[in-house]
Each structure stands twice: as C-alpha cells, then as structure tokens.
Amino acid sequence: MSPQDSAGGAESAVEMETQTRRNMLSGISYIWLVPLISVIIALGIAWQAVSSRGPLIEVRFQSAEGVRAEATELRFRDVRVGVVERIRFATDMAQVIVSIRVDKELGPFLDENAEFWIVKPQITARGVSGLQTVLSGSYIEGSWDDQRGTPQRQFEGLDQPPLYLAGEEGLEIVLRAPQGGQLASGAPVFFRGVRVGHISEPDLTESGDAVEARAFIMAPHDRLITTGTRFWDVSGFSVNLGAGGVSLDVESIATLIEGGVSFSTVSSNAEPVAEGAVFSVYESEDLARESVFAEVEPDDLELTLYFEGSIGGLEIGAPVELEGLRVGSVLNFGAFIDEVDGDPEVRLQVDISVQPRRLELERRASREDALAFLASAVEGGLRARLANQGIFSPALKIELVEIEDAAPAVLDQGHLPYPVLPTVAGELSDMNATAEGLVERVQNLPLDEVMNTAISVMRGIEDFVNSQALRQAPDAFLGLVNDTREVIQSEALQTLAEDLGAAAEEVETLVAELNQEEAINSLLAALLRAEGVMASVQNTVDGLPAIVEGLVQLTSKANDLPLEEFVLQASGLVETANRLLSSEDAARIPAELTDALSEFTAVLEDVREGGLVENANRTLASASEAADSVATAAQSLPELTARVDSLLAQTDALLATYGARSEFNAQTLGTLRDLRETARSISALARAIERDPTVLIRGR
C-alpha cells in the first residue's frame, strides 16, 4: 500500500467518519424504535410470564408413582390448576418432594387444609376409578376448601385419597371393630340399605386389640348419627336357619367382596355426637341392638343371686328380664360351698347387672334410686328366678317377677360385693313336665286302633264297589228289556191279529155263500161259520189277559228299577190296563155275540122246520134282527178301542219321558203301534157291521 493511497484513504475515512458522527449526533434514527419496541415487548412477555406464575408448592410423597416433571398435572375437581415442575428427594431420601407450579389465583386457598394425593387407575369391587389416567398418566389431585387461610408452601401428600374432599359436608367418625376384615378402604356405610358414607383404610389401634377406621357420613345423613346409633357389619352374607325357614341376607354385591357396615338408631335417648366419635362395629344387627343392654355403664347396678339346683344353660350375657323387658344381663356365675348349720351345701351364685334406666324409673335414674326401687319391690314380692329363654330352648335367663305369696325377704344391701336379691325356684321343671305330658298323651293315643278301623272301613267300601250286585245292575235292566220284548212278541198278541183277519175272511166267505143260490144251505153254513168266527173272536179276546199279564209283569219288573217316575207312570199304565181288563164291556162281548148266534141258530132251525120260501122273508127279518144284535154287541168295541188308544198314548208319553231312544223304547213303541193298528181294525170292522148289518149277509 502506498502512502498516497493511505493518505487518500485516510482522508475519505475522516470524511466518512465525520459524516457518520454527524449522523449519529444529529439525531438518532427512527429505526431505533424497533429494538426499543422489541425490548418492551420482550420485557412484557417476560413480565407476563413471571407475574402469571403462581406459587411453587412442595408436596412430600412416599413415592412419586407416575409423576413426571413438566408433565404431571395438579387437578382440582378435575380441572388442571398446575403442573409438576420438579421432582427431587428429601435430604433423608425417605420422601419424594414434588414441586408443583400452581395457578396464581389458587395460591391463597392453599392453606393447612389443602390435601394432595396421586390419582392412579383403581379397580375395586365398587367399580373402576381413575381410568383416564391409564392413557394420560397419573395426576395429582388436590383438595382444599373455599376459605382463604394462611398460604402454605409445604404439604404432606396423602398415600390414599382422603375420606372426603375438603369442604364436603358431613360427619367424620371412627369405627372400631375387633377384626379388620369387616372394614375395607372405601367400603360403604349403609343406612336402611342406602349408601350414606364410606370408610377409610382401617388401622390398628395403638394397643393393637382392635381395628379402627375413619368413616365419613355425608350430609344430610350425618344427623342420623347419635349416641344411640349402633353399627354392624354387613360384609359377606349371612344365612339364618330359623323357625321361618332359611333366610339369606346380602346387603349388596359390593359388600360381598369388600365389606361394609350398616347402622341404625337403636336407643331412644340419643344425643348428637361430635366429630370423631368412636363407635363399635358389631357382628350382626341383632348383636348391635342387644348391645344397648350389654354395654356396662358406669351406673349399672350389680346384684348377686343365689340359686339352688342346676343353672345349666345359663350363660354370661344372658338376659335379665323384668316383666318380659330386658333390664340387664348376667355378669358372672360360679358355685361355692356354703356351710349352713354345719352342713356343706353347694350354692350357685349368679352376678347380674341391671341398668337403672331400664327399670321403670325416670331417665337418669341413679344407682341409688334403682337400689331403693328394688328394695321396695322385693318387699312387695319381687324375686329372681330362672326361666327358659324359649319353650324348647335349653338356654336360661333370669326373670324378675313379683310372686304374690312369696316368703318375706329383703334385699340384702349389706352383702359384698353386691347386694343379694332373693330368689325363688324357677319354673323349669314345670315346663319340662308339661312338654313331657304332651308327648305322653300323644303317645297314648289309640293310633293303631284308629288306623285299623279306618283300614277296615276302606276295605268295606272297596268290597261294596267291587261287589257282584253292583256290577249286575245293568245286566238286570237288560233282562227286563228282553222280557218286555218277549211279551210283546208273544204268540197270543201275534195270533190276535191273525185270528181277527181269519174271522173277517170267514165272515166274508159266509156272506158270499149267502149270496149263492143255495141260500139256505149257504146260510146255514154261513151261520155255522159265523159261530166259528165268533168263537175265534172269543178266543182272541180271551187272549187279551195274557197280554195284559205280560204288561203287568213288565211293569212289575220296571217297578223294581229305581226310576221313580217310570215306576209311577208304569203303575198308572198297569192300572189302566187292569181297568180295561176288568171292564164289563169286554166281558160282555162274548155273551152278546153268543146270544146273537143263538138267535141265528133259532132262525136256522125255523127255516129248517118251516117252508123254505115262506120263511125266507121271516128268516131275513130275523137275520136282520140278528145283525142288529151283532151291531149292538159290536157297539161296545169302539169304546174298547178308545181305551186301548189311550193306553197307547199313555205308554207313548211314558216312553217319551223315559228318554233316550234305546232299543227298548223302539221295540216297545213298535209293539204298541201294532197293537193300536189291530184295535183300529177291530174298530173298523165293528163300525162296518154297525152301519150296515146286512154286510154280514151280503158279504160286502
């Protein structure tokens, strides 16, 4: 580089420099506003970041399971209110300190009431909780009330979710149970089957003889908890075998697995309890209710009883009852030998405790009051005795009863350690005797005889039912029907119609012969034949009684049947038939016919004696007279027919009422119809003769 160049360069550099200086001095360029604004903005961002940052709190946990710095959130009622910034160990390495940046506006609420615990997925019998943490990871749940207290920055984390959230209304109590199995963390507390609270993780008491768990009863159910409240275990299930059968009690499926307790107010004089009151958990509801009496209270009155004879069946805790009401329980008993007048005698001593307030005294009765009451009662006849707890129960109880005519005794208040209440012999033996007597009486019942008699009666009934007679009843009825059929089909009845037909034929022949030239011979023959006809008719009529007799037999047989109506109507039929038979008209017919025939005979004789021609007219006149007589005789026939008709009608009606169209019915009906036809034929013949007697002669 040459000096010239250097000089020139220096010159221009000086020029430039002065120019630059001038510029810088003359005024700061507007462009500097840009970094200025940038600074302001940057500072603004920084300030905003710093100022919006809430307090950093530190929570100590036993383990930071699932907690990650910069990722794990702090939630309050499931709303993100902070994030874990840092996780480190405490100096003693026993705990993990989780630093959480909490939202600024929540700072004032984080006072000593705040609680923190880590929410993890949990699967219990009640259900699944914290499932969302499976995907999103664990988070820290916080709980605090709405009171702004003194802000705190150091907290102890909880291993378990707290029993109740801060600010939740309710009552916290302590449940004490002999076994921890009844109490499980989160197990429900029921009241009448409704879940009203839950239990925390149980823990042993300091002495180690019981298990305690905190329980939280949610408002408004917390007012149900009083000093008279008793809790009992409802975990698992209980089977009771009693007189009412088997009963299986399960409070809920959840209690089967993780248990639970139920409570009820069993004592009336109850007062509200304070937070943290301790309650015992009994094994069952019955025990819980009985516990009201079993609890030894400071002002309980202890008494001593002496019994003679066995007290087998008496147990510690057995009830002491006054007029059926439990007033106390047996504390203790034992036997000792007492020297009475030099004779060693075994006496049984029973100590009982009586709760004064259970006696018929006012509330808050003191021990002295009770003693005074008992002393006066003993003077009035109050005695203690043993009694069975139930009819068939061997367990004993102590009864305080007033014996009307008791031997005078007093309450020995000077006896130590407890006053002695006089006793009387129990009613145990009586009870046993009664039961025994009952059994004996049952045994003495003539059960065998009764059974034998019953068996023989049954057998008789069976024989009767199986008897031949009963079986043959239908057969007898069938036989009757057959008989009836036989009667109807009898020769006599059948020949009646035939004979009548034959008679009519002969009459016709006679008349035809009369018409012939040889009148006299023919007439004679005709008359002779007419005589035969009449005889036939008589024969026929004579046959009627046989029919009737058959009918009588039929009805008599029918009578034997146990059909009242049938019998009555059949009787009527029989009567009618009898009347028909015994009627004089019927009897008269043959006689009149005979007369007519004898007149014929006379005419014929006259004809034979006198001249043929001369006597011819006379003969005819006589014949006419004879025919008239025949007509007269025949006039009674319609009446007979009518009677037969009415008989038939009656029989018809009878059969109609008899009912079913049995074979018997059909046959009887057919027979009777035939009978009617026959009667009508007779009637028609009679009418024809009546209208024109000459038909007998003319044969027409």
Binding site: M1, S2, D5, S6, G8, G9, A10, S12, A13, M16, Q19, T20, N23, M24, I28, S29, I31, W32, L33, V34, P35, I37, S38, V39, I41, A42, I45, A46, A49, E70, A71, Q132, L135, S136, G137
Partner: protein
C-alpha cells in the same frame, strides 16, 4: 495476489464521481437523486446504514432470547402435554439417537441465527472501526449472511406446518409455542439487519486502508 485483488477492486463509483443504482445496476452522475431507469432513490452511501443494522440487530437479538427460553412446540399426546424448547428438543433428539435430525435442527435453529448475529456484528464493527480488512472476504461474508438468512425460517415453517396438520383432537395435538413467534420475529429482524447493511461501505474501509 494482493495486486490481482487490487485490480479487481478497481475504482469505486464515488471515486469516479458517479452514483450507482443498487436496484438496476446503472450508474448516474453524482448528485442524481433518482434512477432514470428504474426510478429508485439514489444515494452514494446510505449514511444511516450502520444505525439501521444495529437497530435491527438488537431487535432480533432481543427476540432471540425468549425464542430460546420459551417452548417452541406444545405437543399433547393422549392428553399428556409436553413442551419443548429449541435446545431441549435438540437434546431430546440426541438422547433418542437421532443425531442427524438433531444436527439439522441445531444447525438451522441455533448455528445459523447465532452465526448471523456474529457475522452482522462483525461486519458492522469492522466498518465502524476501520483498520485492516480483507474487503473481498467481507463481501463474501455479507453475501453468505444475506443468502443464509431466509433458511433460518425453516424452524418456523416446520412449526407452522405441524401445527396446521397435526390436530387430531385428543390423540395428538401440536400447537406453536411462544418461542415460535419470537423466533420468527428474530429471523425477520436479522434479515432486515443484513439488508440494511450497505456493502459499499466496505469499499470505503478498503480505500481508507489502502
């Protein structure tokens, strides 16, 4: 070599009594205020150039701080939200063994911006202070800075694309963090700073030296 370079350097426009248009490259007589060809304003030297450079530089530097302190991305995967700063992301990638990606991110997000700051500051200081310079190297440096400046925006592009595409409700969500805006502003400001630099000032310094 120095002679050869001197020959290349030649005469400056100002020394020749001319003023060159930065826009179209034509030269005009000294005193002309407006380019007759393209209408751009003509100045022989931008006097406030260094002020502008420094102003933008500072603005960019200021925003570069929160860009590194604040999270670049807010990723929520299945409800689990995580944030990562630039450097944190690089470290995470290194931990995962993705050396190449880590290097790219580191190069684009840290090396280039920081290198730009250093380069611009160096240029401005050298011009301001004078002294012995290699004007050719300075020009090259200036060109490199100008060229490379826009590539710093890669980060911002990545964030913008991810934020726009990855919005799968509960499953995966990516949102830009505060750092993204700051980083973008920082890059813009450093680019403006580089642009504000009048490379002709290098000639003057070279002339002075010569």
């Amino acid at each position: 070599m120095a002679a050869a370079r001197k020959e290349v350097t030649g005469l400056t426009a100002r020394a020749a009594g001319l003023v060159g248009c930065l826009h179209c490259g034509s030269v005009w007589p000294k005193g002309t205020t407006r380019c007759g060809l393209c209408g751009s304003a003509l100045t022989s030297r931008r006097n406030a150039s260094l002020q502008h450079v420094w102003a933008w530089w500072f603005a960019g530097a200021i925003f570069y701080i929160p860009a590194n302190l604040y999270p670049m991305l807010r990723t929520s995967l299945l409800g689990r939200e995580s944030t990562s700063t630039i450097l944190g992301g690089v470290l995470e990638l290194v931990q995962h063994g993705s050396w190449f990606v880590a290097f790219v991110v580191f190069f684009a997000s840290i090396m280039i911006p920081v290198g730009k700051f250093v380069a611009i500051a160096y240029l401005a200081i050298v011009i301001r202070r004078g002294g012995p310079i290699d004007s050719h190297s300075l020009h090259r440096l200036h060109e490199v800075v100008e060229f490379i400046g826009r590539w710093s925006m890669i980060d911002v592009f990545v964030v913008a694309v991810l934020s726009a595409l990855v919005h799968l409700a509960f499953v995966v969500n990516i949102d830009p963090g505060m750092a993204a805006i700051c980083f973008a502003l920082s890059v813009v400001f450093t680019m403006l700073s580089a642009l504000s630099f009048d490379p002709r000032l290098i000639y003057d310094v070279a002339e002075v030296r010569e």
